[in-house]
Every structure is written in C-alpha cells, then in structure tokens.
Symmetry: C2
Amino acid sequence: MALKTNGARPTIAVDAMGGDNAPDQVVRGALQAVEGGARVVLVGPEELLQPRLKDLGGDLTILDAREVVGMDEPVGQAMRRSDSSLRRALDLVATGEAAGAVSAGNSAAIMALSVTILGRQAGVDRPAFGGTLPNRHGGVFVLDIGANSTVKPNNLLQFAVMGDVFVRTSRGIESPRIALLSNGTEDSKGTKEIKEANEALHRLDLNFIGNVEGNQIFEGLADVVVCDGFSGNVLLKASEGVAAEILGLLKREIEKDLLARVASTALIPTFQRIKRQVDFEEYGGVPVLGINGVMINCHGRSKAKAVTNAILLAERLAKEHLLERIGESLHEEALEAGRRRRLARALHLRPSHP
Amino acid sequence: MALKTNGARPTIAVDAMGGDNAPDQVVRGALQAVEGGARVVLVGPEELLQPRLKDLGGDLTILDAREVVGMDEPVGQAMRRSDSSLRRALDLVATGEAAGAVSAGNSAAIMALSVTILGRQAGVDRPAFGGTLPNRHGGVFVLDIGANSTVKPNNLLQFAVMGDVFVRTSRGIESPRIALLSNGTEDSKGTKEIKEANEALHRLDLNFIGNVEGNQIFEGLADVVVCDGFSGNVLLKASEGVAAEILGLLKREIEKDLLARVASTALIPTFQRIKRQVDFEEYGGVPVLGINGVMINCHGRSKAKAVTNAILLAERLAKEHLLERIGESLHEEALEAGRRRRLARALHLRPSHP
C-alpha cells in the first residue's frame, strides 16, 4: 500500500471498525468525504472492507489491520492489541503519513491509545475530550466531557487555554468567552477546585467571564465552558436526553390529535430546522485535546454524515495547525510578565523570559 | 395571634418574603391553597402583608417577623438575623405549631437554618435538596441537587435511602428504582466515591438498578437518581436550559414562517400540554431531606401556582409521616442481618440486633 500524502488536502486515517454502525456507515461516511475531495485512508481488515467498497462502488486506500477494539472492551485489553484498526490509524498520524485520525469507537481506548501513541503536548497534564453543545448562537464548546472524572485546578486552566485555541481555530472567534461550569454564578460557588480555578482564570490573559450554571450555557453567554469530565458528561448527556424527550413528546402529542396531525404537516420544514439545530449528530465528532496529533472521536452511534463531518473537522484542524497554536498559546509571549509567570507555574512551563 | 393547629389538615408556615416575586405571588399562592381548604400561616412584616391581603380580599393568619433574608445574602449574615420571616417560619415547625414550612427564598440560607433550627435526622450526615425532573413517566426524583458540592460514599447511600422513602411517600411507588448518576452505566464508571457507593448500594435492600447517565434519566429508567449536589445542580439546570431553548426555538421558527404561523394556531393545545409536561414550575418545590421537619424550598422565580403546590406537598409529607418513615427506613428491621450491619455501618447507626 502506498499512501498519498502530497497534494493540497491532508490525508485523514479513518478507523473503519469503530462504532455501533461500523464498518458500513463509516465506509459510507469516508466515501462521501472523498467525493467532496478529501483524502482518506480506511483502516481495518482488508478482506472485509474491500467487498463493501466494491458494493458501494467506491474506491479508497485501505490499510490492513487484523484486530478490532470492542465498544465495551476494557482499556487494558484494547491497549494490548498490537494490530487493531484504532492503533493502526493512530500509527499513521504518529509517522506523519496521516495528518489526523477519526474513530467512532471505544472512547476510553481512543484516549488511552492517543496518549500512548501520540504523546501529550508539552505543558498539558491531562488531555481532554471537547464537545460542542448546540445552541442558536452557533454552539458552545465544552471540555472536558469525559476523559477526567476528577480534576485539579491546573487541569481546568489548561482546558481553558486549549478550549480558547480550539474555538479560535475551528470557529474563527477572535476572543472566545471562556466560562467555568459551577453550581452558582458567584466566584465563591463550587468545589474547592473550582474556586481555585476561578481565581486563577481571572488572572490569565483569557476572556474569562466567570462561572456559569447549566441553564446559562444555552443562552449563548459563553463560547467555551470548562469543567471536569464527570460534570461535562452529565451536562452533555442530560442535554441530549432532554432534547430527545421534548422532540419525542411533540411527536406523540401531535399524533394523539387529528387536528394537530393535519396542522403539523405544514410545520414539517419548521420541525426539521429545529431538529437540525439541536441535532448532536450534526457536529460530527469531538477532538482529543492536549495530544501531539489530531484525533477526532465520533459518537458510538454515528452514521455516515457524522463520519464525513468528523473527517472534515480533522482536516481543518490539521490545516489550521491546531497543535502548534495550542503550543504557542501555552507559551504565549504576549502575556505580560506577571501573568505569564502565574500561567507558566499553573501549566508547569518554564517561562522563556523570567 | 393564635395558631389553629387542630382539625383535619395540618398547618403550613409560609415565608411570605422569600423569592423574587415575594410577597405578592407568595401571598396569592397561599390564598389559593387556603381556598382549597389548606391551613396556612403567613410569616412576614404584618404592616406589609395585611394591606396586600386586604387588596386581594383574602384572610390569612399572619405571624409578624421584622426581617427579610436577601436572595443573595451570605449564609452567615442570614443566620445572624434573629427575626427573619424564614427563621420564624422554621421556628413554628420546631415548636410543632406548624407541620411544615415553605419558602422560595435563598436556598443556602434555607438549608443552613433548617439544619440549625430543626436539626439533622439520626443517621443522616448531610441533609440534601431533592428535586423532580419532569419526564413523561411522572418525573424522576434527583438528590442532592445543590446542598453538598462534594460527597462521600456514605452520603450517597443516605441520599438513596431518603430518596426511596420520599418517592414511596409522595408518589406511592412501592419499590422505587434507585440509580446512581455516573459517566457510564458500567459499575466501574465514575469517581472513586461513586464506585464505592455503587458497590455498597448493590448490597443494600433497595431496588438499586445501577448507574445511569444523564440522557437515561429522561427515558424513565429510574424513579430516584442519586448524585452529589454539584452534578445534580448541573443536571437540573442544564435540563431547564435545554427545555427553555427548544421551546423558544419552536416559537421563533414558527414566527418566521407564515404558513407555520397559521398552522401552529391549531397546535396551541398541543404546545400547552407539552409545556405543562416539561414545566419545572408545576412541581412546586423541593424538600430538604434529612432534617427533623418538613421544609419545602421553591424556586426563587416561583409564582403563585408553585407556592400553592409547595404548600400541598408540605401538607402531604406531614400527613404521611415522611420523617418517621425515613427514620424507620434507616433502622429497617426487615433488612437481613448482614445487609443491616453493612447499612448500619454506612449510615453510622448501631444495629439494634447485632
């Protein structure tokens, strides 16, 4: 197999075997991206993938990998597989043959293998999963959403810096509004860790707007919300649950009532617009932040569209040099000396001009 | 002033000055409850409340209290007020002149004063705020939703026992399904505290169904969800936020489109049914659990309807002997010996038959 990495668009490695709908939906998603001009290497068992590609009438470079990481497989077991499609996809990023990787597989395994194979970025103690919560203001980026159940204040500061860079890079917002998730807006609210992080964030050169509560996230107050992975997971999952519940309720209530049923046909385009705006699948995938490479983790239930979007996101992050930008931001010369020293201390960096 | 505490319905003390809409909406809510046959004592500055009652053409017993606890007042300051309407309402519960109290005021002050004036129940280390999240299965009771930012495994066990009794008492469910909020359904998911609590809960004589994630709460899998107050707050606030966002989106999308606007008039009853089902205000208030008395804390934004509902809830909990039931449950003789010992140890009780 010869990888084509030259040309205008970077190559993205796609774990064909990750996710509840793998490999079918993953293959379809990859083909759709390629039809739009993307360069993709599909990673997985060749004898399984080749016939599917043929059936779908598509042509993709395949990198053979004999093993598959199960969705609920313990991380230790996943790590011991030397020829899994996930590991091989990350290897391509490590060698530079791919500019980024995408997988809808086991999240814990994705995080563990990403850190092992690609390594942590300098100045980052704990990499994080970021995720976008949809709202009518273009969404809010939340991190961590599941990698770190408990965090120290320094981890929260690092998440804030990484989130700031990610949103500047992916959405082009010049000075993203950063907020800290707490159980009250006052600076004094929250756990010990949150209070310390709040105090430190006020001193960093970020557009830190203070604490927000769960409900304010949807009001568009902040572009980045920083939290521990446990709360972030609760936030994300609860939001998904409520959205699904209300849309389901709407459907059932309309079906109960003949007049409503007739009237609702006129509302179908409206309902579809709403569904798109609150559809978590639209967002494709979430980056693993703080590692030396671009790795996008899609939801386990991802269908083709989400895989395509994740490939495009990986491509964009690679092209826009996300990693270098995070690195620069952690070292940021522009920070005034005192602030820099405090940031540096928080981030365990040695300031270049003491 | 002579309090009437005899008769079929128990007297409920209402803090007339608590909440963003106090005293007007609180007085209205109390009057509505009394019109339905409830017995209420309104607590607050008599010279302020008497004219309002007159304007509204109502008649209520007033207990004069000269001070008001501010909504954002620090707890220490609130505790120092010797004649606040909140303190006086709780005093009535402590002396037995009222069977329960209701306040839409400062939650932190409500918790602190409840514990100080009424005391903790035997076997309870940390009282908790419970709250009901609406879903189409009649709602799920979540605790803690804000009193304890961090918890130990024993606190979570105690929350489970209190939640079990509350749901049996308030909703008549014989064997409520109890779940633990985590960032994954596997027993191995969550923080150290949650893993320990999960293990211990499996051994208690409760209908413990294991861990649930935020999205599953709305699927009706559990009747009680146990969590620390920080995650509980995130869960509750995020759910409120998403519900408000989607209903707002629906309204705006319909207004954009003439055909949709016309069609939607036929859907008004449907929308109203949905709004009622996801309306957090319908639920009135949340009990402070683990204290020696009935105290219902309403949302600060409560209007009359929520206050009325809170009064009815306080009445019901008093009549059905919630406290005694929680006490019995903590001591539960029916638990087999081994289980009892473990529960007793977890709850710091001395088993009666070792």
